[in-house]
């Protein structure tokens, strides 16, 4: 099980790989669409990569609720619990 800090760091790497954004830009309060300018196609790629990395399942209908990086970290953390 990963800590929230480890999940954030792992997500930041996935976002960097997909979009080129610096990992430091991926902060808990940042909105994927508003702040990080991530479109729905990139978001799905990030979700699938996060599933593989953290060994969780993020249902498609859940993805729209993951507005901020913090939402995603919490979801993954709870799913791992």
């Amino acid at each position: 099980m990963a800590s929230n800090e480890e999940i954030l760091a792992g997500l930041a790497e996935i976002v960097n790989e997909e979009t080129g954004l610096a990992t430091e830009a991926v902060e808990l309060d940042k909105s994927f669409t508003e702040d990080l300018d991530i479109d729905s196609i990139s978001m799905m790629t990030i979700v699938v990569n996060a599933e593989e990395k953290f060994g969780v399942r993020i249902p498609d209908e859940e993805v729209k609720n993951l507005k901020t990086v913090g939402d995603a970290v919490n979801f993954i953390s709870n799913a791992q619990a």
Partner: protein
């Protein structure tokens, strides 16, 4: 009087150079871009052909990792060539509603398609990337170039196998003459050096099997030619209405004087042995450009190095140009870079424009014993083209009986 259309920008990434200056220098020197493939899949699948002509500059040396992730390799090559052509044109200020794209491919996103299929089988549907469809669609390259340039007067993708790149120029000329656009980014892109297309082209006996000597495998017009060599890459040309180019003080390479497209309606893959469709295409392009046989000094031939393909083109050239064909300097540049399929016409158009602009014909390599049934004046050593008003033709023919010809006139 139709609008005159000129060429003001050139771009290319090919097996003999990752940009136009490098490609042109090598084309005049005579080099081979064909090499043994080191990929594990060659032996894994026991492919009958072990070599191909890869782009000399990998796309990832030019594009950022994130840019490349969203593009099939064919689109990567197309965007690289289009960016070079655009920069070369010097256009900085343009009405984007009057800028169109005509960017061709023969096969499209074959790497993306087959990678996604492998992923589906091995890892399941969840792992199939959401970008798969826009990356594999044949119009992906035209769409990416349109996005990159902000071209809003339509983005078109002519698909006619190995005639595709030349057909893009045919379409581009039409778009400007008919007033639908003032500037068109034309080109062709291909990236099909993948085990499946190599196996498929091998099955139809189209590829050279000269595995022990790849550099000498592509040998158009040679008695011992045994098939083409698979190449990859892209070519791009900026077409512009002459008045538009003059108004901005552009450097103009040449005029795209005439184009044509015909169909053999003879056989799905074999060329008409009498070259009738090709003859009609040559005559139609010359008529379109108000060109007499005597005006033509140079031909960049389709000449793929297949036993059955090279001769009908000669027959067609003789039928269209008459005895003047004996005075024409013919270059078979696939001898150097292999066959870029849907990109070949665009890359060869770039070479033909440069030949007219610089009055030098690119070389044909590997011609050791010229096929006596093809008595053309083949350019095998440095050759200067005449001064004065000159015209050069470039031919492309594709499976499906597609014939496309362009005529480039000096200015």
């Amino acid at each position: 009087m139709a609008r005159k259309v000129v060429i003001t920008g050139l771009g290319a990434t090919t097996p003999i150079g990752g940009d136009v200056p490098t490609m042109w220098k090598n084309a005049l020197k005579g080099v081979s871009g064909a090499h043994t493939l080191e990929d594990e899949w060659v032996s894994k699948y026991d492919l009958p052909v072990h070599f191909a002509a890869r782009c000399s500059t990998p796309a990832l040396d030019v594009l950022t990792r994130v840019e490349a992730k969203r593009m099939d390799p064919s689109t990567q090559f197309g965007v690289i060539a289009a960016r070079e052509a655009w920069a070369d044109s010097g256009i900085t200020d343009i009405d984007h509603d009057r800028l169109a794209v005509a960017f061709a491919t023969g096969i499209g996103g074959v790497w993306t398609l087959l990678d996604a299929w492998d992923t589906l089988k091995e890892k399941g549907p969840r792992r199939v990337l959401p970008m798969t469809v826009p990356m594999l669609m044949p119009n992906g390259v035209a769409a990416a170039v349109s996005l990159d340039l902000g071209a809003r007067a339509g983005a078109h993708t002519p698909v006619s196998a190995c005639a595709s790149g030349t057909e893009a120029l045919h379409l581009g000329l039409d778009l400007i003459r008919s007033g639908k656009a003032d500037v068109v980014m034309c080109g062709g892109a291909e990236a099909a050096i993948h085990p499946m297309p190599l196996a498929a082209f091998s099955s139809m006996q189209a590829l050279s099997r000269r595995n022990d000597d790849p550099e000498h495998a592509s040998r158009p017009y040679d008695r011992d030619r045994d098939g083409f060599v698979m190449g990859e890459g892209a070519g791009a040309l900026v077409l512009e209405a002459e008045e538009h180019a003059i108004a901005r003080g552009a450097r103009i390479y040449a005029e795209l004087a005439g184009t044509s497209v015909t169909a053999d309606a003879y056989h799905i893959t074999a060329p008409d042995p009498e070259g009738l469709g090709a003859t009609r295409a040559l005559k139609a392009a010359m008529f379109d450009g108000r060109i007499q046989a005597e005006d033509v000094v140079h031909v960049n031939a389709h000449a793929t190095s297949t036993p059955v393909g090279d001769k009908p083109e000669y027959t067609a050239l003789r039928a269209a140009l008459g005895t003047h064909v004996d005075n024409v300097a013919v270059s078979a540049t696939k001898s150097q870079m292999g066959h870029l399929l849907g990109a070949s016409g665009a890359v060869e158009a770039v070479l033909t424009v440069l030949a007219v602009y610089e009055r030098r014909a690119p070389l044909t390599i590997n011609l050791e014993n010229q096929d006596p049934e093809i008595p053309l004046d083949v350019v095998t050593s440095a050759r200067t083209l005449p001064a004065g008003d000159i015209v050069a033709l470039s031919n492309s023919f594709g499976f499906g009986g597609h014939n496309a010809v362009i005529a480039i006139r000096s200015l």
